[in-house]
Structure formats: C-alpha cells, structure tokens
Subunit: 575 residues, 2 copies
C-alpha cells in the first residue's frame, strides 16, 4: 500500500471515530503539516468546517461553538507555535469545563530535536491544562492500527465530554508527502456507549430533605447554567420557600421566570442586611457567584448558626471558602429532580422570603428613580441590553465590568434568553471570538456581545470570522478608553502618572474604523432611546453600537447609589 493510501486510511478511520462521538464542527487553521487532516475534515459532509488564520481566535471560536452547541468541537492546526496560540482557549476550556478536541500535527520522530524548521516539542504541550494527551502512532493501515485510530477518535471525544468536561490534545506525527487520496472512504465500525449519572441513594436524599425542611435557607447558584437548568433551581427554591442568589451566568434572571424567590439585587443589598437575616442553611450549587459583596457576606456568617452544603458536581472540591460542612458529590440536576420527586421536602415560613423581598424592593425603588433620569451610563446601557434581548436570543457578556453591571442591575424578565460568558478564568482575551462562535452555532436568533474597549481590542483579530462567515452579531461596546475596572479598585488611589500608564491604559482607537475594516456597521450611540431602537432593529452581519463613557463617572455613580441604599436600609431598620 502506498504512503498516501496508508496515511489516508488511517486518518479517515480516526475521523470516523470523531463522527461516532457526534462531532459536527471543526475549526481549522491553515498550515502545511496539517494538510491531510484538514482536507479530510473539510471533505466530510457531516462536519461543518470553519477556517481561521489566527489560531488564538480559532481556539476561542471553537469554545463559543462548544458552549452554544453543548457539544465537543474539533480544533486543528499545523506544527510549531500555531499550537501554542491555542493555550489561552485551552486553559479557559478546562476551567469552564468545555470539551475541545485539539488536534496538532507534528514532524515525525526523525525530524524532532534536530533544529528542523517549524518544529518544537509538542508532547504534553498544554501540560496539566488538558484532561488527556495522546501522542498518536505514525500512520499504519493494518486492521489493528485502523481500529486503533477509530478507537482514539471515539474515546478521546468521550473523555473530553465526561464530567468534568474539558479539553483533550492529540498530536499526529505525519511524514511527507502530505496530500491525501481524496477518492478513498472509511470503513464503518459499530460501538455503543452507555453512560451513567452520579446520584444519591434514597436514604441520603431523605436525610437532606429532613435537614432542609422548615428551615430558613438561602439557595446560592454559581457556574454556567442553561435557562432550562435555571428553571429547575427556581423550582427547588419555590419548594423550600427560600430566596435564590445567583451568578449572572446561572441564567436565573434570564430564564423567563418571575418567581418571587429570585433576589435580583443581591450584590447591592447583601452587605446592608441586618444581622437577624442570618440564614440557618446555605445551599450552594457550583462555584461562588461573582459578587464580591456576596462572597464577603458568606465568609462572615457565624458558623454555629448556619449549616453549609456544597454541591460539588465536578468532584473538584471547588469550595472557595472551605466552610461547607456537607459536601454532596453528584449531578446537580439529578439531585433537584430526586429531591422534588422522591422526598417529602417542606417549605419554610413564608415570612422568611417576604423579609428578603422587603429589602429587594427598597433597592429596586432607589434604582427606578436613578433609571428615570435616563442617562446613557455604562450601567444603564447594560441594563437596557438585558431588557431588550429578543426571546430565545443569546447574549455574550465580557468580563471585567460588563458582567458586573448585569449582576448588579438585571431584574427577571418574562421571556427567556441565554446568557454566556467566559468565567473559567475570567480573562479579557478571546471574548470576541467566543461570541462569534456562539453566533455561528445559532445564527438565526438575536446575538449580542456586551463588551468593553480593552476586551474588544484584545481579540480584534476574531472579527475576521464575523466578516468571513457573515455572522449576525451586534456588539454593544462600552468604551471608557481603558481599563475601567481599576477605577473601582485600590489602584485608583495611585497618582495619575502611575495609574494611567499601568492601569488606565487608554487605547485611543477609533472603533468606527474597526467596524469598517471588518465590513460591519458602526453607530455612535448618543442616547438610551437610540440604543433601544438599534437593539430592536435587525442586523445581517457585524454591527458595533458604541457607547462612550468616562471611567471616573462609573465609580461616582456606584458610590452615590451605595450611599442611598445604606441610608434607606438604616431608615428601614429604625422604622
């Protein structure tokens, strides 16, 4: 058998394994060594391929596809630094538990460590940041090795998707010539996989139901959840009569429920609560929500008065405060379903939730007065995006300030949309590409990205995919010309000659030109009604709605708001 036929049959069998594991998307960066895999993936009708020149953006684009499709996505690149550019997306995929199948191609063994061009050590390239690394064998076409190639395709995707999901890396040594035989086809192999779920026993469930019934508890929901999952958390909160405090990405506020259990203003009210509001139970699902105020409140609760339960679905012990007395390892959704259907769990006195709602209303009334002024602030623009999202749309929210605005100001809506973000490591990198990957996964709904200027700049290259694939994404840009978050932190105390170059970092970029470069539209938004109108109008491709603000204004607004809330709470407690 010729070199070309051997190589082609081996790689086709590997791709059959990917298909058997339901891979449907691949993001390919051009290169020479990767030629046979690129061509065979591109020619496979069951796989949609996207081509991306910048591998860093390609990695995050795949991450966005994986997020919105809830499926493993393949990445492919050539040898050398190309692969190193995937590293940020791989780290984020690991921490946010998303399955990426990273395929790198490499020189064969005889051309390694000899200074051959475009070659470097690719073994274990991503260190502990992938779940699994496989150095593939050189192509062979014996029945054993064709079955091996198929088995690696099948099982590595399955391994990537297992809880906790994450990236896997396969390195393919390939010899020249690299052109495959495009007339050949693969041999089908049949395998079935049954996958169990981690559930508690009936007696464990009953003991938890007994411990939680008739107690004043608080439900904390962190991590990324779908709107469907969010509804189940709300059902549990309603069953228990408990308030629910959550991370924005838990989608509690965007799942279309207006349940009275939802506390929208947790970040603003939690530190002002009187001490008699200390709960008897804290039931935390997943990571801590992003609110620092909530984290501080939780860390200061008197341990003798509050029992803490931590649902550790991933089994990774990510109990940041390390104060949980009971750790429950198992599926979050299965636990909720089992508690509601298999136990006699009972709600607490409705007065408990009612008192939370009193404080919630105080904050909401203050905010309503602020919003009436109708000023185009970062906070109000962010809130408007939330309010204007079309039903079943997708909003990607950037890190740093945008997600904090949503956390602070969102209130429940009566129609759902899905909120996404990169909260594995909360980087400002790759956000544009992740949002475009999300858009590519579901191009027929409304797709919006809420983002600051530094974050947009960091992944500006990602916009090329928007142009190339005509992806309908509306970017709401909060442009405060620099790193807005540092004005909220202690760095703000520094003198201007230290603060501005190191933390303010103004870019002075004209984003109208950025839109033009990538063939998008640009609107400089001057008022809230204008923003509202633009958000309601349809878009066929890329669109940047730019809101220009001053960094220091945002800080002053929050300080004024916090003072007002404190005064109101003090007045309430005295009354």
């Amino acid at each position: 058998m010729s070199h070309q036929e051997t190589m082609t049959r081996y790689l086709l069998q590997f791709i059959q394994g990917l298909l058997a594991s339901h891979v449907t998307s691949a993001v390919i960066s051009p290169g020479s060594r990767s030629t046979p895999l690129a061509l065979l993936l591109h020619r496979e009708p069951a796989i949609t391929t996207y081509i991306a020149v910048d591998e860093r953006s390609a990695g995050f684009f795949a991450l966005g596809l994986s997020k919105a499709q809830q499926k493993p996505v393949v990445l492919l690149c050539t040898s050398g630094t190309a692969a190193a550019n995937y590293y940020p997306a791989i780290c984020e995929a690991q921490e946010s538990q998303l399955p990426l199948i990273v395929l790198t191609t490499d020189r064969p063994h005889e051309l390694r460590q000899v200074g051959a061009p475009q070659a470097m050590d690719q073994l274990n390239l991503f260190q502990g940041h992938v779940k699994l690394f496989v150095e593939m064998a050189l192509p062979e076409a014996s029945p054993t090795m064709l079955n091996y190639a198929y088995w690696q395709g099948l099982r590595t995707v399955q391994r990537a998707a297992q809880v906790p999901a994450g990236p896997v890396h396969l390195n393919f040594p390939l010899r020249e010539p690299l052109l495959p035989d495009l007339t050949l086809g693969a041999t089908p192999i049949a395998k079935q996989i049954f996958q169990g779920e981690q559930r508690l026993s009936r007696s464990e469930l009953t003991s938890l139901a007994d411990a939680w019934s008739n107690k004043r508890g608080v439900l904390i929901v962190g991590g990324s959840q779908t709107t469907h999952e969010a509804l189940n958390f709300i059902q549990l909160a309603e069953t228990l009569g408990w308030p629910i405090l959550s991370d924005p990405l838990a989608n509690i506020l965007t799942c279309g429920s207006q349940s009275s259990t939802i506390i929208a203003s947790g970040d603003l009210l939690i530190q002002e609560l009187p001490t008699d509001m200390q709960p008897e139970i804290i039931l935390q699902f997943g990571l801590l929500p992003l609110s620092k105020n909530l984290m501080l409140w939780l860390s200061q609760l008197e341990p003798s008065q509050t029992e803490r339960y931590f649902i550790d679905e991933s089994g990774q012990w990510q109990d940041q405060l390390k104060q949980a007395q009971t750790i429950i390892q198992g599926s979050q959704q299965a636990l909720i379903a089992d508690l509601v259907s298999k136990t006699n769990i009972m709600p607490t006195d409705p007065a408990w939730l009612a008192s939370w709602k009193v404080y919630e209303k105080l904050v909401q009334d203050i905010l309503a007065t602020d919003w009436q002024k109708g000023r185009l602030t970062e906070a109000q623009a962010s809130l408007l995006v939330h309010q204007k999202m079309a039903p079943n749309g997708q909003l990607f929210v950037a890190n740093s300030m945008p997600i904090r605005y949503l956390d602070r100001y969102m209130t429940p809506r009566h129609t759902p949309y899905q909120l996404y973000g990169n909260r594995g490591i909360n980087g400002i990198d790759g956000v544009v590409s992740t949002a475009l990957g999300m858009t590519a996964a579901n191009p027929n709904c409304q797709n919006v990205l809420l983002v600051g200027d530094l974050t947009l700049y960091h992944d500006m290259n990602g916009l090329l995919q928007g142009k190339k694939y005509q992806l309908p994404l509306t970017i709401v840009l909060l442009n405060n010309n620099g790193g807005g978050i540092f004005s909220f932190l202690s760095q703000n105390q520094l003198e201007k000659q230290d603060f501005e170059p190191l933390f303010g970092t103004p870019l002075d970029l004209d984003f109208a030109l950025v839109a033009q470069l990538y063939e998008g539209n640009h609107h400089l938004v001057k008022s809230l009604p204008q923003l509202s109108e633009l958000l309601e109008s349809p878009t066929e491709g890329l669109r940047i709605l730019e809101v220009q603000t001053q960094r220091q204004d945002n800080v002053q607004e929050l300080q004024a708001l916090s003072r007002k809330i404190r005064r109101q709470f003090e007045a309430q407690d005295e009354a």
Copy 2:
C-alpha cells in the same frame, strides 16, 4: 512589619537582582495581581518599561527588544490566561535561543484549585519550553529571604543568558492588599560573576587545521549572526579559500563585505552544479540554512567523498541530516579566532573558488536581465528593500515567502545593515511585535519590516505599540491576499474549492484602514521607482508601503527563472 512593607522589601530585593544582571527593559501587561511588581519596575529609573495590553504581542515585543539589544528582557503579567498568551513567544525564544525573563503573578496557595476567579494552575505552565521554572516563596522580609529574592533575580537572568540562551519563568504568589509602599528602597548586595567560554585545545585546533588545509571545502553558515560575527566567518572562508553559503539571517550578505568567497545565489545554482563540484569538506556552523535546494544537495553528497564537520555551539546536536562525522562543541567565534591566530591553516587552490564564481555569475547575469524589466513583483520589491537599506539600519524579515525572496535574490552590499527574523520555529505569529521591539531597541536608525498580508494580520494588535510609542517602522507589505507559500507547494495541485478556503485563505482586508486605525501612513505602491523613493524618505512613526500582487504570478516567475538557469548551466557544461 506590615504586609505591605514585607511584600515591597521582598520584591524590591528581587528587582535589585535583575538590575545586577544588567536587565534594562521590561514589558508589562496591565492586571491586578501583578500590581506591586508592575509599580516597582515602573518606578525603577534603571529600567525602561513598555506597557502592552495584549500579552501575546507583549511577548514578541520583548523578544524583539532582546534580539536587538542582545540582552535579557523582563515580561510581567497578571494571573490566569494572560500568561498563556506568552506561550508562542516563549516557544520561539527557546528555539531561537533568546533570554526572556517571564514573571507571572498568582493567587497564594490557599486560593488555588478552589475555583477562585482568574486563577489556574501556573506551575510549570510552559512545560519544557522554558529552561527553568521557579515557584517563588510568598513574600517574607527576613535577611535570609531578602537575600533569596535577590539571588533568584540575579541567577535566573544569568541562567537565561547562558549558552544556549532561552526563556525562564518565575511565578510569584501574592496576597492582597496588593499596593506596595512606594517610599521604600532596596538594599544593595554585591556579587561578581566570571563566565568562561567553551574552547578547543591547541592540539584539537591543529588537527582541524591540518584536516582542512589545502582541501576543497564549503563553509555553511546557518542560524542568526550579527554583522560583526558574519565578518569573522568571511575571514575564515578567505583563509581557507572556500565558498561560503549561508542563511539570510547569518548576515553574510548584509555585513558590508564584498568578499569573493560569498556565494549569493546558492539556492538557485546548487541543484544545477555538475557532479565534479562535490567538495571534500563541508564545514557547517549552526542550523541548516533555510534553502531547501541546499539541504537536498547536502543530503545527496556522496559520504565517501565528503567529510562533514558540524560546529554545535549550543550543544543540542541540531544536526538535522545526522551526517556529520565530526561534531565540534564550543563557541563558534572562539573557534574561528583560535584557528586563524593559533594554527597554520592553509588555503586551497584558488581554482576551486573560481569555478563556484563562474556559476554564480551565470545566475547573476540571468537575474540582471530579469531585473531590467523593472516589474513590481514580490521578488523585486524584496530585493529593492535589501538594496535600499540605510547603512547600519535594521531589517526584520517575516517567514513564509519574504525570507525566501531575500535568500534567493540578495547580493553583497558595500555598507552593512542588520537582518533579523524569527527563525526558531518560523511562525507567522508575533512578527509585527518582534519588529516593533527591534525598533524600540534602536529607534534612531532606519527600521524596516518586510512582511506578507497573513503575517501582518496575525499580529495586527502589535501595531498598538507602534502608535503608542511613536516607533519609526516602515512596513513593506507584500499583499497577495492570502497564503502565498502554498502556491509553491504540492497543495497547489488541489482543486480550487479545496485550495482556496484551506490554503489560499484570502483576507480581503483594506490595509489603508489598518494604517489609519494605528495612526500610520499608508502608500499603495505602483512602481519600483516609487517604492525606492519611499524607502529613501524618512519616517517618524508607522508607515505601510503596500505592494499588491497575484499569488500565481510568483510561482510562474520562479519556474521561468529556474528553466533559464538550467538551460544556461547545461550550455556551460557542454562548452
């Protein structure tokens, strides 16, 4: 002692260590965890700091500084994916043997592996791609630990600079609050370092001189060399009467020498040489030059007729063809100096070099006819850049096609300039930033980047540094709208529907807008005289001189040229 004072004294002492190792530049990316190190580096008058928002570009900017300053350069970023963005530059630094001091800041131990925000495992983050990884101790201010901090600063820079030079990584766990005490100063500590050099003994030198004297040899020079080093290689070639074939980055053709030993057209003539031109000795310094024709010629030489010597300065056995019979481990420059000054090395018959010059002239005459047509091709634009470089200027040449044009068409000049490239792994990433780092190191000479459109796009973010620091860089852009190199490779046989999306990858970007975005000038060059004039005119900041070409034209030109050369050589051999 307060937390703030302890942290500040510890970090100041570390920075003292860097200073003692002659660090003078640091490239800092903004972030919170890195605040104390960023402020203390920024405040240190002996260190020039550059601030770069995109860590990937920052990494390559530091690489460019290190290349042109021939000094270790510090990189600093915050925790999380920020550090992962350095990976491509770190891999390139390792393979091109440049000293980078990578400082990452991290959560303290109690906030690791608990799902804390912006945290991931940073230990051994860059795996085998750094020479050394150090997890620093938490700040302490005992005399022992202040000496430890100083010692780590001093020795890690020294380790990075030792042959083979390369990147080192230090990870600093830091607790909040993060603001340092800017009123404190460091305590000086005195240490001296004597560093030896790897040299051969007198008897070893004599045996080599005896083996090489009066033999028909060829000197092969690969790797990156300074123009000063290049002159020494030429001196050796003249001493032996041998032709010298080299990589463009060896700077043999740009060092200002017009020695008759220099063979400029090696790539074009080597495969056409008659068999009686087989040398008795091949003496190879460093990596193989980039010419594939030269590599094939070397690999096909009859072993019984040619003795091969490989000077392995880095000790890494990077003898790609694995055919060297003698491996010499030691300093290249010391070996040359010792051979010339301490031995009685003798030249071969001048007829040997004269016959090489006959073939060289044949090629040069054909090229002269081609150049007379005065067409604005990629080849001729590249040659013009070489010819027009101001004395003692700096030219950075991108990978893929630009460096191949220089390799094929450059001829010796009578004034020197320094040529740089990223030939560790030959990536298309980070090239703009490396060229800007080179410019920042020596802003007062002429600085030029010769680059294709994909490579410019891949690191477009890097242009921000050009705008921010008003770096005077002229970018000569060979825009063939896609991946030009693939038209020269076997992929060119593919049908258009496979070739264009996977290999052609047109960007369809308007580079006039790119220039405008980064406040540079843009000129669409229409003729060689116009390009010549623009290259001669001074620039104060960023400038893009765009040459638009067709990918297929380049291939046809090279094919036509190769046919002409073959015919001429055949006629010569018959004559």
